[in-house]
């Protein structure tokens, strides 16, 4: 469940009508709900097959390849990174046109680097259309790209995959190899986001990818290693107008377990019953978690310079698993001040009582900033 797709749809005004978009462009419900007619819907459990499902599903409105990870250098410096490719269709079909530029698929990409030493968060955004091979997905060898940012395989879609990207402030060249098999989220990959049929996505993850490579900043390159998490999700509608945002956690614990949890927040301040999670054991076996099985509690709030507040520290309790976790940010200022704003940052996992380090992960928080005019 990722924020970026909403960015796209919200920004673009939800549907391809000729009327100007309403200024409530960031009402999440409208954005991820909206009129999905003409698109395929996530109605039923489907059979996933790979590598095909790594590729694009253009009949659905939104889709993303969402990579986050925690890295360390040899001398113990901590970094977090994010590389995301969002695809969104602005109309169900391509308008017939002689021009190769005519396209109904848009791409947006975000890249971010969190430096634990300097506590600086660098980010960049790119846009393109699915035309002239400026951005898109290629099957053999597998590649998803926008401009010169890309995630790609060298042969077919086989691992290891390479991440290559260059912004004005940093460069990444990473190699990714999965330690665990693919995990289907929700009900066998069908992730229901609100009660209406079809308000769901197809969602799978590669929760633990061994990561190594080079990080370059200011002409200075360093070797980094760590763990990454890849989320793949596609849908045509998901939320209702009652839902205002969510808090999403992807945590890799030192004991070999991985935990994904998200809560959907409602306008009335309640947590939506469709909030859910998955606990993955060391061998890669997944256990679905319902809202009743976990508790989320903000511990501390951080305020941006312009007054927006994010809960950057959390307590997560899973009584049945005997887990009581304290989630702290690598540092507070990891807000993505991109076209539309959200908080996406590296976090450290501790034992709530003893403070013992238990792992690292990524936290995403949306719906805390009013839509810009």
């Amino acid at each position: 469940m990722r924020w970026g797709s909403m960015l796209l749809v919200g920004l673009l005004g939800a549907s391809g009508c000729s009327q100007p978009p309403a200024q409530s462009g960031l009402d999440l419900g409208v954005a991820l709900g909206g009129d999905a007619s003409g698109y395929a819907r996530a109605l039923d459990i489907r059979r996933f097959s790979f590598p095909e499902d790594h590729f694009s599903h253009p009949e659905f409105r939104n889709e993303w390849w969402y990579l986050t990870g925690n890295l360390s250098t040899d001398n113990g410096d901590l970094y977090g990174y994010q590389v995301t490719f969002f695809r969104t269709a602005i109309s169900p079909q391509r308008q017939a046109d002689a021009s190769h530029w005519r396209s109904h698929q848009l791409w947006m990409a975000h890249a971010a680097l969190s430096n634990g030493q300097t506590k600086r968060h660098l980010f960049a955004e790119r846009w393109s259309r699915d035309a002239l091979k400026l951005a898109g997905v290629q099957q053999a060898p597998f590649r998803v790209w926008l401009d010169d940012w890309r995630i790609e395989a060298t042969q077919g879609a086989a691992f290891p995959w390479q991440v290559t990207l260059k912004t004005e402030q940093f460069e990444l060249a990473l190699t990714l190899s999965p330690q665990k098999p693919i995990v289907l989220q929700g009900n066998q990959g069908l992730s229901q986001k609100s009660s209406a049929p079809g308000n769901a996505s197809y969602y799978y993850s590669l929760p633990r990818l061994d990561t190594s490579g080079t990080l370059t900043q200011a002409h200075h390159s360093m070797q980094v290693t760590g763990l990454s998490w890849l989320d793949r999700e596609w849908s045509s509608s998901a939320l209702t107008s009652e839902q205002v945002g969510w808090d999403w956690f992807a945590l890799q614990l030192e004991d070999g377990r991985d935990l994904m949890i998200y809560q959907l927040r409602r306008k009335d301040g309640q947590t939506d019953p469709h909030s859910a999670g998955t606990l993955i054991d060391k061998q890669g076996r997944a256990t679905a978690l319902q809202l009743a099985e976990f508790q989320l509690q903000p511990l501390r709030w951080w305020q941006t310079k312009d007054g927006a507040s994010y809960p950057t520290g959390w307590r997560i309790t899973l009584p049945a698993q005997d887990l009581d976790l304290k989630i702290l940010p690598l540092f507070d200022a990891q807000e993505m001040q991109t076209t539309l704003r959200y908080w996406e940052g590296a976090v450290i996992v501790q034992d709530q009582r003893s403070g013992t380090p238990l792992g690292r992960g990524y936290l995403e928080m949306t719906g805390y900033v009013a839509a810009p005019d």
């Binding site: 005004g13 396209s103 400026l134």
Partner: protein, 839 residues
Amino acid sequence: MVSLNLVLSSTRFFRRHPWQFWLSILSIALGTAVIVAVDLANASAQRAFALSLDALTGRATHQISAGGTPFDEGFYTVLRTKLGYQHSAPIVAGWLRIEGETFTLLGIDPLAEPMFRNLTTRAAQAQLIPLLTRPDAVLMSQMDAARLGFSRLDRVPVEIQGQTHPVQLIDLYDTTQNVTPEGILITDIATAQTLLDRVGTLDRIDLILNADAAERLRSALPPQLKLDSVGAKQGALKQMTRAFYINLSALSLLAMVVGGFLVYNSIALSVLQRREQLAVARMLGVTGGQLFVHICLEALIIGLLGALLGLFLGVGLAQFLVALVTRTINDLYFVLNVSQLHLATWVILKGVGVALLGTLLAAIGPALEAAHLAPMLVLRRSELERQSRRLFPRLALGGLGLLILGVLVAVWPSEALIVGFGALFLLILGYSLAIPYMSAWLLKRLEATLRWLPTTAKLALRSITAGFSRIALAITALTIAVSATVGVGIMIDSFRHSVSHWLELTLQNDLYVSATSGVASRAEGTLDNFWLERIAHLPGVAAYSTGRSVKLDVDSIPTDTLILSPSVYTTQGFEILAGDTQTAWQAFLAGQNVLISEPLAQHRGLGPGDRVRVFSTLHGELSLPIGAVFRDYGSSQGMLVMPRNLYAEHWQDPALSAIGIKLRNPSQITAVKLLLKRWSKEATRPVSIRSNIEIRQRSLMIFDRTFAITQVLRLLAIVVAFVGVFSALMALLLEKRRENAVLRAVGMTPLQMRGMLLLQSAMIGSLAGVLSVPLGWLMSEMLILVINQRAFGWSMEHHFPLAVLFAAFGTALSSAILAALYPAWRLARAPIASGLREE
């Protein structure tokens, strides 16, 4: 107390002489109006130009292009995905017409834009989805829409290359920022490619780069593409219009001179008339210093009132001039849309400043004189006249000095236009200083020769001589105004004559089939393929030549280029000005050289034997020798002519823009034209079929349109001069009230009186008419040999039309007589008794 009295005396004077007051105001207002109007028109056009340049290039520092021809869009993908230049935006741009107005269609990728153009980004992002998904969606500025009467979501037919396409104005972009360029239609690049028939190609790629990145990119470019800095490109465009703007500025200078005379005239008159009162004031204890300050202040107040009125008049006039200026720019240079007047502060300050300064300068002389008046002694008119006569020879001597200086400056070996204008200014100033002396001399000769005249006529002559000091001013103003019409008239006539002659020579063929772009008068389109084949097989065709109009980068400056495949008649159509005709043509036919037009040679300092660097799409930069320089009035920026075989070697563009047909029997023109017209119905691209006579007429029409603005300004000069004569006559009339009453009392009829005044005025007009000819001729020489040569690079044959001379004389005479009508009417009605009582 004293100052109050002075103020009262001034108000009383002007209350008793309201026309004097209003004429002063009007004179100053007219002078200010002309200056302000020309400057405003000029500034508005320049600003519109700057804005549209800005909107079109935005924050880009560099551009990738193929030297003017569209190039394959594939390189853009390489640029972004392989070379990693993400601050890059593809552009497809072209022209279209909406309800007869020309617009630039700017095809952009809204997703690549944010770095480049604020305006387009804001506008396009608000409408991103319809813009990207709908094949007919365009954005128009609110200002343009309001002018054309369109609203949001209107469907509008646009004409592109002669064909009409419907588009929808999906939104009107914001124009509240006051930096909105006019005449730009924004659309998605896909829509632009399809509408403009340029699928698969880009016109340019805008980039934001630092010097290092630019160097790296330059070395990575394929040979058919080049990277230029935007500054250099814009510089070339600005250079193009510089000459035109400078010419306009010259006209404003002229308006300033004439306006200045007028202001001087009216202020001086109002002081001269009050000499008695002022002397009395001195007697009552007012010091000379007080009088001086008072008169200067009075002049300033009048000047200020006049200047303010002039501002309003000027803004009104500017609206009209802007339209003319835009027309000319579109005819001669490029598409520019100006409908908004830009009220630049400096223009207003300059207009008011010149008016006030002129008023003050005009007042200083009379004010000084008033300050030095002996309290008891009232100088007699005759005394005053004697004084001013002593001044005339000295003025004339000074004028002669300035004239000589002016000629010296003119022949000074400089290419600078401003120096040419300096010379022109010196010339006008010098000559005008000599006018009083010359006219006095002429009058004396006249009196001596015309002894046989009837008494009334002699009286009329004498009375001019008697009040000469003020009449001299009117004559000077009229002379300058008329000479300006003579000078500009001769220049335009010579120019038109040369152009007409050149057209006759150039249009060697009987019929021309040319692809019109639908914009301005250029044949920049492409002809359908069938034309050449059919024309080649047409019976009765003696020969045909083909041309292709392209814009190539010559020495890095986009330059109009004609790709010529000549026929045996073609060579006769070129008048070679420099270079050996025979060898130049031999090399040209062999594809070994290029020819350049006179303006190109002039502007870039090129000549036969020099080489030019031309950017070719197949082989990059070529160095080509210049064979000869030919006469051409077609493009003031200059034109390069390249042989077709040379072009085919280095460019992949077999298309033709025009075919010239020479018939064996010219009487068949009409029949062949009809046949061609019939064929044109099969054409998919717009085409125009014209005989050489039609082209000539059309060209001359555009020529006349170009000079419409100068005609308007000439008319204004005359109006200003007319007001000058009018005020001088009115002054004369009032001053001579007693004298005239005596004449009436001794038996002169009102009719005779009127006749006398009209005769006087006719005399003034004739003098101005005669005197304006030499100055006009000098001005025309200056305009032809110095100004035009330097500004446009055009040389022309001198043509001295008698008609212009007669027109000048007629203008001077008729405006003087017209100016006398009202004074004459008043003169006849003036009561005798009260006139006599003034004694």
